[in-house]
Symmetry: C2
Subunit: 591 residues, 2 copies
């Protein structure tokens, strides 16, 4: 069973030192989010994660979800855990108090979410989707719609879904065919949606589906799409739940992982729906939901890796096998240098990923709450730049780390009962849903780098360079980290210059280099945060902080990142500078 004491400490370090809670606390509405309160919230959440949600994870994996007559049933243990989650008041941690939430900063909500995800990824998807759907309705919905559904969604009494994909429309939303026909005050929705996470279940009385559909006589492509709220059960004027609406689960997928969460095919047959936002502005409304969801899915890469790491460390401390220099007789495998290398690869990446995910969350807090328009706009630009990196990089690294977690277990890792394999299977969806890594990379290079002429990226690069001053204060102690960061930033600068000098001569360049850009910026952003972390740790040690062991470990982990992870930056730079010619050279038949 996962234990979250170690992560709470690291979470608080990240929130205080790297994400700079003091900066967020100054924003209107967040005045009460003191470090002590935040720590108390995280400690309490870690208990629910360890005692209630964690234990249902393997049960959900083993029991198939099932559909009967349009209704989906999940493991009864999932349902019971959800009830305890509601009773504890854990839904809507970072939703506004007006909407029925706790009003805590988004970054705190994200730290809490990491615990649910680490405890059970499959279970945690239900609150994740609900929160995103509620946020889209809070931002774009009419007052009438909000009074009908918002509080019930924020409190988790009802859950939410996100209905984009159709069989011909996955990454390409322009191909959506689901129809919405005006009917009185509402619309009638007809069509089939696939891959709908928690598209139906028996944990709550009602489910509010957010559905992208096409109204008559509108533009083709994404510009003709409108967002609708379609309840599973009709809602009476007094807010109570009435008859079934015409939406039914047709089937659930048989997936590689996240077995506990039903992934549904939903059939809408003249189902009553309410417009969210304006007609033909569905994509914009959906992006409100999707941008939150992308950060949350990026966080899944962190959380599932943390879970895999804890399990691998436990095993490495127990398993006796072989001999190691400086030890008499057989040793536990954590004494082997190569096992340490594996565990440090996990630890260093996890801490770096957590830092950039939380930091990005504070940009979202600022983009909402900064009273100053320019500060808001800068935060928004950074948020938009970092969102595809958090989503893409953290989930790609999550694949590697959960696989290492399994590897540490040797042959036992391949046996399902050990539980290490489940993390790998569960993690494997994260680079796909909410936009594949390819979609994140295209978004990054196209909309977030080329579109503003590189302004947001160059501002990030400048900030990375400034970290050198912080590191310089600690003399030789952090010099390995300084050098690695400087070399990495040079690589990113060179790659950025190359992109702007070359992309206009060949339309395939952005696509060909996008993945390398995403991985390069992710690697560097992580290294930058680990460098800042090392400087902060050195300061704490210098001032005689009682928790010296934690801070010393932080410096070692940052050094490992600098020595073993940052060097990959130069290979991404070289790949980028190779451009698109070779990538595009083969005919279809030559593959």
């Amino acid at each position: 069973m996962a234990d979250y004491r170690a992560p709470v400490k690291d979470m608080m370090f990240v929130i205080n030192e790297l994400a700079r809670l003091d900066r967020i606390m100054g924003l209107p509405g967040y005045e009460e989010a003191t470090p002590d309160l935040v720590e108390a919230v995280l400690e309490e959440a870690s208990q629910l994660a360890a005692e209630v949600i964690g234990p249902v994870n393997t049960i959900g994996d083993a029991k198939a979800t099932r559909v009967e007559d349009g209704q989906v049933f999940v493991a009864s243990e999932f349902k019971a855990a959800y009830q305890q989650f509601l009773q504890g008041g854990w839904s809507g941690v970072s939703h506004s108090v007006e909407a029925g939430g706790q009003g805590l900063p988004y970054v705190v909500g994200l730290a809490v979410e990491e615990m649910w995800q680490a405890a059970s990824l499959a279970w945690s998807l239900c609150p994740l989707l609900t929160e995103g759907a509620a946020r889209a309705i809070e931002t774009h919905g009419s007052e009438a719609l909000k009074s009908l559904v918002l509080e019930k969604m924020v409190t988790g009494e009802w859950t939410g879904t996100m209905n984009l994909t159709e069989s011909q429309a996955g990454s390409d939303l322009a191909a959506i065919r689901t129809q919405a026909i005006p009917d009185g005050d509402g619309f009638r929705i007809s069509g089939q949606k696939i891959f709908i996470t928690y598209g139906d279940h028996d944990m709550t009385d009602n489910v509010i589906h957010l559905v992208l559909a096409r109204t008559p006589d509108t533009a083709p492509g994404v510009k003709g799409l409108t967002l609708f709220a379609v309840p599973k059960r009709l809602i009476n004027p007094d807010g109570s739940v009435g008859d079934r609406n015409n939406v039914r689960a047709v089937s659930v997928e048989h997936k590689l992982g996240i077995h506990g969460s039903p992934t549904c095919v939903l059939d809408f047959d003249n189902a009553l729906g309410y417009v969210v936002g304006e007609i033909s502005r569905g994509i914009i409304c959906m992006f409100t939901m999707m941008n939150h969801a992308r950060i949350s899915v990026g966080l899944e890469g962190v959380a599932i890796s943390e879970r895999a790491y804890q399990q691998a460390v436990d095993y490495a401390k127990e398993r006796v096998q072989g001999r190691a220099p400086g030890h008499d007789g057989p040793v536990t495998i954590i004494q082997h240098a190569d096992v340490r290398r594996m565990l440090l690869t996990m630890k260093a990446h996890i801490e770096a990923m957590r830092a950039i995910a939380y930091l990005t969350a504070t940009h979202l807090d600022e983009a909402y709450r900064q009273p100053d328009a320019e500060a808001r706009s800068l935060a928004q630009a950074r948020l938009e730049l970092m969102t595809p990196i958090v989503k893409g990089w953290c989930t790609e690294i999550g694949q590697i780390l959960t696989s290492i977690g399994l590897q540490v277990h040797g042959g036992m890792g391949y046996v399902e009962e050990t539980g290490a394999a489940q993390h790998l299977r569960d993690a494997r969806i994260t680079t796909i849903y909410e936009g594949t890594t390819g979609i994140q990379a295209a978004d990054l290079v196209g909309r977030k780098i080329l579109h503003d002429g590189g302004v947001a990226l160059r501002s990030l690069i400048a900030e990375m360079r400034q970290a050198d001053d912080e590191l310089a204060e600690h003399g030789d102690q952090l010099s390995v980290i300084r050098i690695a960061l400087r070399e990495g930033v040079d690589d990113l600068t060179a790659a950025t210059d190359w992109l702007f000098e070359n992309h206009e001569r060949d339309a395939d360049i952005p696509g060909a280099v996008s993945n390398s850009f995403l991985m390069l910026i992710g690697t560097l952003a992580g290294g930058w945060q680990m460098a800042r972390a090392a400087a902060a740790a050195a300061r704490r040690i210098a001032t005689g902080d009682a928790d010296k062991s934690f801070y010393e470990a932080k410096i070692v982990t940052a050094r490992f990142y600098a020595e073993q992870i940052m060097p990959v930056a130069c290979s991404y730079r070289k790949a980028i500078e190779s451009g698109s010619e070779t990538v595009m050279a083969l005919s279809q038949e030559q593959f």
Copy 2:
């Protein structure tokens, strides 16, 4: 269903141009292995793979193997495919004619084996283990033992297993406890072995277990181990099968993948066994088996990646989604630059891995068959150096490539029915069994590099540098490849120099740098072979070869390898030069 036409062409290219079949054909006993004969054999094997073995792959995945009263039952379709394999005379392709085999070079047997593995990894493990066991008996067994079991094993009438692991003895064979007590002409074996692949099944009348066990009054550790042949059923003097021996399958594991192959716990309770080789020389005998098996498992990384690649290419050519520069309207996803990058990452690695696996196989052929003792010894040294690289690097890359194969399918890849996920699940065992990547890396740096003072490695490096002459003949056409190879070899040279200058000052250095060394040499060996392949392809094009499209694709693929894969060499070099200090710095509690 997998189709093997493309690989047969590439296999023949590798065998003729890179592994240099003409060199092997000159060896005693191999005179008849002409290119035409080899191609005919591969074409025929590809049919059996596509029509008989491939179709049972998903069936074996879906049906659990089961144990009843000590007897294991596999899917009946596996049994039927095995019968067709035997009827076609496919067992023992590269075994000696005297022992009942076909007498073809080992490299040809390996190419044939790649097809069985690609068709169904789970199924292919049975012939793999049988061949390894037969080879150990052929090399080390007494005439009496050979006359009892060898021909039946070579022809596949009986199968073989490899019994090393016990619950306390995985990577560490010194901890083996299974006992062997002398009894008349034989021994009585008692103990429990775990993770025994095809440890029992109902495909053949008998199974010959090769078991490492401890005789009384011998040295502790691996020096006290002896190898025994323990039949599942006793063998009558006339060679017919008699009563059950005292060995029983206790259970089969519930694994992440290779579901079709039973992984057994075997209980030996006073079972009759025959010594193989000499008392207390079990490890040496086992290594005969294990070295073959390691190359074969390395090949599994190639084969399963090839299967995943074919499936991903098929999907990318069919799936319509989004728009691409230079195309009107929606395109098949193979038109997207990032999808091409993914497919080329697979293709380039697969061709490189195939080349180094086959080349290593020819070293084995030479080590057996070279009449000249010095040539034999050079081949043996190269074989020993390359074996952990083929095993470790090809299987590690196989993890990445099967994961990319799934990614190309988007959401469909996560649905089990698509079949892409099975390749990932199946591939996941390959970095673990027959010695984890950590064990391969330790073997590489300890026994294969430091032990001979770097002689074998420096001879490999020198040969890599010589490839530059071949490339130089083609002017600017291959200059990108030349530069990448030169830079990569410089990195390897520097890392090697660093290792020899530093390893004595710190006993943890070999362990700390071993994985990076394995990955660095693997990456470079692959790049070296791709460079040679490009030069060979350029020659063919220059001489007007009819298959111009194949050779042009080979040059593009080699350029992709040079541009996008070789640059990672510099990051491994940097990791190596960081040494062991950081890796060893944390206390257990700090993890």
